[in-house]
Amino acid sequence: MSAGAVDVTYRGVFQKNLAGVITKELVKAARREDKFGGTVARYGDSPERNGIPAKQFAVIASDMASLQVEMTKYEPDNVVVVAVMDDTLAKGIESWAWYGVRPINLNLAPGGTLLVISRQDPAALLKWIPRRPQPWTLAILPGEPSFGGLWVYNDDGTDYRTMGAIARVTDGLVSLESLIAQAAGTRDGGKREQQLREGYEAVQLHQVAAGEGAEDTYVPVQMPDWTQMREGLVVPAVEVGRTNELFMKYTTRTARPLIKFDACVKCQICYTVCPDECFIPTPEGHYDVNYDHCCGCGICAQSCPVSGCIEMVNEAVFDGNEPLHGVYERDPAAYEELRAEKLAKAGGPVPHYGIY
């Protein structure tokens, strides 16, 4: 009498179909084993924003009663796998319906597995992922994040490779055989079987010890009771010139604007068009970037009239959110070196970023 959940954490809109296919197909495969199941799309994530961290769950239970209890939760309990569809989500996730940035492994059950699609090694990911009091498993499925759209099925095999990896790491929640049998009934069943087996074989498991990983700075927001809340749905406003500390937005980002300050013509367009007021004027008329609140929409890069001045660069090559103009002020040449290094590591800027 038990239920287990697979949490698929994904980039809103771009990976909604991906998460939807994975969770539903896991449940269908589990039905072949006479288990009970359902999927839960975390309601607060809807309507989704482009790139915002969002979740869908597959709940698989030995019996109907265990399933029913989980189906009335926004986030089911006993998350045995968190499947992360883009490794930059490992920096933390902040749904638009939440308060603050949560660790990617916050709800992982003790002994559970965090499965990340990534080209990075465990040490690099553990720089971002907070430590846990119990040991857990970091599983890496080598690959690039698969981004599509709401109306697009991105048929690149990421869904079935991920399911194959999940079958490997869950030890019995749903078997590879059931997934293959389920896939056999679909179009391109042979290709799907191949992808399931690929994922099953390719996933690399890494045991993470208790206490291993980044510092855990997460502090849950304290919820006031009804006598403590202001009446009439009034909350303090963010003062002019300040930013909302309860909604950072940076975890939405898959690429960040990197500025070549030497090329800047001080036209102020980036400052004007940024929907999140992330450009901070410097005394000499440049614009520094508040990476805490930049959601990576790329409008600045599209709007900048100077070629190569603002470029969108893969978020995975950065740690932290410190503004970079200070580096430039101290030593413009050193800043250019840093910029070149990041661009090289990322394989150049993200082309056509933000153009839909």
Binding site: M223, D225, W226, R230, E231, G232, L233, V234, V235, V240
Partner: protein, 426 residues
């Protein structure tokens, strides 16, 4: 009221007070002038819109200083009232029938933002068919949403209760909007004898509107009504619930103060009771049905029948303690609903359901007979009230504890196979 009469009313009122022959809508307009309302929003629909006419005359004549905004719909009208209230202006809105319905979204956010807007609902049947006559369903549609609801019986009560409503709604312990219901035609368009007070007692009774630290202003940077999720909504509802619970005490306090300041007014803030002292039977209704109800009671009393009438004034908060106390010892109760709630308990109206629920915890309960009468503005006569009393007595004598709803004044047979399909299984 003619322009000349309005001027006369204004001048006389400035001195001490005056007796006027005015409609219920005019009486509300006089109260709005006396309350120095800052922003009035309107959109015309019969029968409430006479108040718009009366107010615009007073503004044009320089007797009243207020912003009067005629919106392009009820939805906008109510939003204007809400936002005016939010920036610290005393606000007034109003409508009737489907107009009230059309602005429903704006109405529910006014109460959830806890803004003490006062509304006049000139009760009117909901379309279709297009009908101007009174039914209470329009105002009742907001009964669950945190609006204080009051049904007046006379133009005098309309004036007095408008002042009382601002006092109660704007009280820091309450901060809820209030809708004043007035029967279409019988009150909105009939002129009654009304004592219009002068400004001095009103100033004493009604303090200025003060929204405190909730006032939306550049000097007070706040965010109002952000998107809430499951983490916050229930606490917000609880706050509204607490406000509605506190409203009872504030209403009692304000009503007593009204009597002190104006030298008149009701003893009981919540219900208007008539000859209930030794009553064996009681009829309960809301609005102008009380006028005929009381006359019918006099007639029946003269014939030796021990009958009383109870008019529910405040429907929200519902006068549960008063009704329980009043009906203790009463053998049979007839509930006169000028509304419908198709498919509800016993197929009765809204008032019936509420009264029956209020009496349920009583150790001995009277026979309760639901009636529906006066829909769509159909007259409810003294004879109708007597007929309802007869039926109530008869069913009480039979010990009918599960009485089916009776329609009074409807053409057609009371019993018919097409109607009694549920007999025995209701």
């Amino acid at each position: 009221m003619t322009t000349m009469e309005t001027r006369a009313a204004g001048t006389a009122a400035a001195a001490a007070g005056s007796e006027e022959i005015i409609t219920g809508c005019d009486a509300v307009a006089q109260a709005l002038r006396l309350a120095d309302v800052d922003v009035l929003a309107g959109y015309p629909i019969r029968p409430y819109d006479s108040v718009m006419t009366a107010v615009s005359k007073m503004i044009a004549n320089g007797q009243m200083d207020a912003e009067f905004i005629v919106a392009e719909s009820e939805h906008s009208q109510f939003e204007i009232g809400k936002h005016a209230s939010l920036v610290g202006a005393r606000a007034f809105i109003g409508s009737s029938g489907v107009g009230w319905m059309y602005g429903m979204e704006a109405l529910v956010v006014t109460s959830s933002l806890r803004l003490p807007v006062i509304a006049l609902v000139g009760n009117r049947a909901l379309d279709d068919p297009g009908a101007f006559g009174v039914e209470h369903n329009d105002a009742l549609m907001v009964r669950d949403t945190g609006w204080l609801l009051y049904w007046v019986e006379s133009a005098q009560e309309a004036l007095d209760t408008t002042l009382l409503a601002y006092r109660v709604a704007e009280d820091k312990r309450v901060m809820l909007p209030c809708a004043l219901s007035m029967d279409g035609a019988f009150l909105t368009h009939s002129q009654h004898i009304v004592q219009v007070p002068g400004p001095a007692p009103v100033a004493e009774f009604l303090p200025p509107y003060d929204l405190g630290d909730r006032r939306f202003h550049p000097d007070n940077p706040v965010s109002i009504a952000p998107q809430f999720n499951e983490d916050w909504v229930m606490e917000a509802r609880r706050q509204a619930d607490a406000a509605m619970r506190r409203a009872r005490g504030v209403i009692a306090e304000a009503t007593a103060d009204f009597r002190r300041v104006f030298g008149r007014g009701p003893d009981d803030p919540f219900v208007d009771t008539y000859r209930m002292e030794d009553a064996e039977y009681a009829l309960i209704g809301m609005g102008t049905v009380g006028l005929v109800g009381k006359v019918a009671v006099d007639r029946m009393r003269a014939a030796g029948r021990r009958v009383g009438f109870v008019r529910v004034k405040w429907f929200r908060p519902f006068p549960r303690p008063e009704l329980r106390a009043l009906l203790r010892g009463v053998k049979g109760v007839g509930i006169v609903d000028r509304d419908y709630s198709f498919g509800s308990n016993a197929h009765g109206g809204v008032l019936y359901t509420e009264v029956a629920a209020a009496l349920y915890p009583e150790p001995t309960r009277p026979v309760i007979v639901p009636f529906i009468a006066g829909l769509g503005g159909r007259e409810v006569s003294v004879e109708n009230i007597e007929e309802m009393t007869d039926i109530t007595e008869e069913l009480t004598a039979r010990g009918e504890l599960d009485a089916s709803c009776q329609w009074i004044g409807v053409r057609g047979p009371a019993s018919d196979p097409r109607y009694d399909v549920e007999r025995g299984a209701r």
